[in-house]
């Protein structure tokens, strides 16, 4: 059987198990991990997996750097947040704004709008290569977050859309008719359903004509072009796709957190997304869930264990340790932990065989 299929089945089973355990066992899922990975963290991992899958397609497969991916994540989140929590200010009739299907409609609408935005900026920006593209996307990400913080430059007395630095609270939960997708045990399945679906779609793309064209672009822009690949169009499309995945995840985040504020989507967040992608291994769709989980787990582990190692160590020690781990990972496993682990095994095995 196909390896990817096995992966999908295993992941699905794991998710079903996690959900089942959380619902039926009184001590909850986090007890299985010694309190390191909470059930909430599992939901977050699912949401960010969607963003990082998109980033892997863009950076890992196509070789186009983005240091501003959190902006698309933010656009989805703010789109959902503004049109639900601020519906009254915008004059959207209550019959629509309070209808159960309204937020559901906003999710694809947000994706479409974010995709359009990515298309418009992607066309010119993706002509740039290497560091220059990285810097342009970095700038783009920062501009978008400042727009959130500054209420899109509109005076808050006239029309307060984004709530400035405080952000937007009071975002409603999703529901289907009268069935609310909350508490979190219900929402968990929605998030991971979307995450697994993104993984499947990405795997299909990677192993197709489109995926090969993207990898060809990564390998040699020029060789791909002279064999007939319209590199400009493919780069733009994969950029748009990754932006739309970011937007989807953003909407899911908004309804999960019930509030959004600028720091979640700022430059540091963009960097973290890249770090997650790099940790998992960018040239593999499967790297996404692993990278996201690894980063969050390292964080949580540090938070939970650091003070035992050093007497009285606070949050700042975690940050330092996190930075050190990041550097070490990039030095010793630059292609991600999965590949790093694999190459470690192949290196150890022959040695073991000899002895």
């Amino acid at each position: 059987m196909n390896r990817n299929l096995i992966g999908i089945i295993l992941l699905t089973l794991f998710i079903l198990f996690t959900g089942w355990y959380e619902i039926t066992q009184p001590e909850g899922f986090s007890s299985l991990t010694g309190g390191i990975v909470t059930f909430d963290a599992m939901v977050r991992i699912g949401i960010l997996t969607i963003v990082v899958v998109g980033l892997n397609l863009l950076m890992g497969y196509t070789g186009q750097a983005s240091l501003g991916q959190a902006a698309f994540y933010g656009l989805g989140a703010y789109f959902s947040a503004i049109l639900t929590a601020r519906a009254g200010v915008l004059g959207i009739p209550e019959t629509i704004a309070k209808a159960w299907w309204w937020p559901w409609l906003l999710i694809p609408a947000g994706m479409a709008l974010t995709g359009l935005f990515a298309y418009l900026v992607g066309r010119p920006i993706l002509r740039l290569k290497g560091h220059y593209l990285a810097m342009a996307t970095l700038g783009l990400g920062i501009v978008v977050v400042i727009l959130f913080r500054e209420n899109f430059g509109i005076s808050a007395n006239v029309l307060s859309l984004t709530g400035g630095s405080d952000g937007i609270p009071g975002i409603p939960r999703l529901r289907i008719g009268d069935y609310e997708l909350w508490p979190v045990t219900r929402y968990f399945f929605l998030v991971w359903g979307a995450a697994i679906l993104s993984i499947i779609l990405a795997l299909n793309i990677v192993n197709s004509r489109v995926g090969r064209a993207l990898r060809a672009i990564h390998s040699s822009d020029l060789a791909a072009e002279v064999i007939g690949v319209d590199t400009a169009i493919f780069k733009t499309r994969v950029f748009v796709l990754s932006a739309m995945m970011g937007s989807l995840a953003g909407s899911l985040y908004a309804h999960f957190q019930a509030a959004v504020s600028p720091p979640t989507f700022d430059f540091v967040a963009s960097l973290e997304l890249v770090i997650m992608a790099a940790m998992g291994g960018m040239t593999s769709v499967w790297g996404a869930p692993f990278g996201v989980a690894l980063l969050l787990i390292i964080r949580e582990l540090l938070r939970a264990r650091m003070h035992r190692l050093f007497e009285g160590a606070g949050g700042e020690f975690e940050v330092v340790a996190f930075g050190l781990i990041l550097i070490l990972l990039m030095i010793f496993a630059p292609d991600g932990v999965i590949k790093g682990f694999r190459s470690l095994i192949t290196r150890v095995r022959p040695a073991a065989a000899k002895s």
């Binding site: 779609l201 299909n204 197709s208 004509r209 090969r212 990898r215 060809a216 002279v226 064999i227 007939g228």
Partner: protein, 261 residues
């Protein structure tokens, strides 16, 4: 030149006083020439004569400064490389540019890019027609690999192949797009005698399949053996353009080559 006018056919590729300068330096100066359908046309000349520059102009990598390049009577100016590829011109590179981190078969599948149509949506959803298309593409790709003798290495990493086989794969990849005109850039460089002979056979077979071939090559023996016509460039200008026997004895050509070697 006058020879070509005797043909009743229109040329497949026509260079019409092509000039290319880089920041004031002229790399090609009013280069004219024709490639007839079904021909094997060699471009030779000392290093720096502008051969690769000419390829880069034909394939749209560089912009022509002055003059015109026509393919099947239509100007190629202003077209992007991928559009030119879609018209039926593909090439290989002097320093082999295979897609690394991709298998031998996958390289040939990318070669079929313009003959297949699966887009993002069809690929993501694995629609029946895209799966059908994929099966056919793999079949054609394997057939092509068999022809160049790479079928048994289809699933190896392309860049793991020995040098000679990499050259063959690059030609196979170019052929996968079913070009009308194939531009080979020093295909024999770095090959041993046996491999060179295999290359000559391959070029002849390609031509027999109806593909016109242009060949930039330093190996004179190979050129005189396989080419129908030879165009000689020196310092960016055409100094001879005729059948091999005539070019070999051309005084300008001999001086140009002696001057270098």
């Amino acid at each position: 030149m006058s020879r070509n006018n005797n043909h009743a056919q229109t040329p497949l590729l026509e260079l019409d006083h092509v000039t290319k300068s880089f920041a004031g330096l002229t790399a090609l100066h009013r280069v004219s020439g024709k490639v007839m359908p079904g021909q094997i046309k060699a471009i030779i000349g000392p290093n720096g004569a502008g051969k690769t520059t000419l390829y880069n102009l034909i394939t749209g990598i560089y912009e022509v400064t002055e003059g015109d390049i026509r393919f099947e009577g239509e100007s190629l100016l202003g077209l992007k490389p991928n559009q030119i590829a879609n018209l039926g011109i593909t090439r290989t590179f002097q320093n082999i540019k295979l897609f690394d981190h991709m298998t031998v078969l996958e390289n040939v599948l990318v070669g079929q890019h313009n003959r297949t149509h699966t887009g993002f949506v069809a690929a993501a959803l694995r629609l029946p027609r895209s799966r059908q298309e994929e099966r056919e593409a793999v079949e054609r790709g394997m057939a092509l690999l068999k022809m160049v003798g790479l079928a048994d290495r289809a699933h190896d990493n392309a860049t793991d192949l020995p040098f000679g086989l990499q050259r063959k794969l690059e030609i196979a990849r170019a052929l996968a797009s079913r070009p009308k005109l194939l531009l080979l850039d020093e295909p024999a460089a770095g090959l041993n005698a046996t491999e060179s002979q295999e290359l000559v056979d391959l070029i002849r077979r390609v031509r027999a399949d109806g593909v016109t071939v242009m060949l930039v090559e330093h190996d004179m023996e190979l050129v005189m053996d396989v080419a129908d016509e030879v165009l000689v460039l020196d310092y960016g200008e055409v100094i001879a353009d005729d059948i091999p026997e005539v070019v070999q004895n051309d005084e300008n050509v001999i001086t140009a080559y002696l001057g270098v070697e």
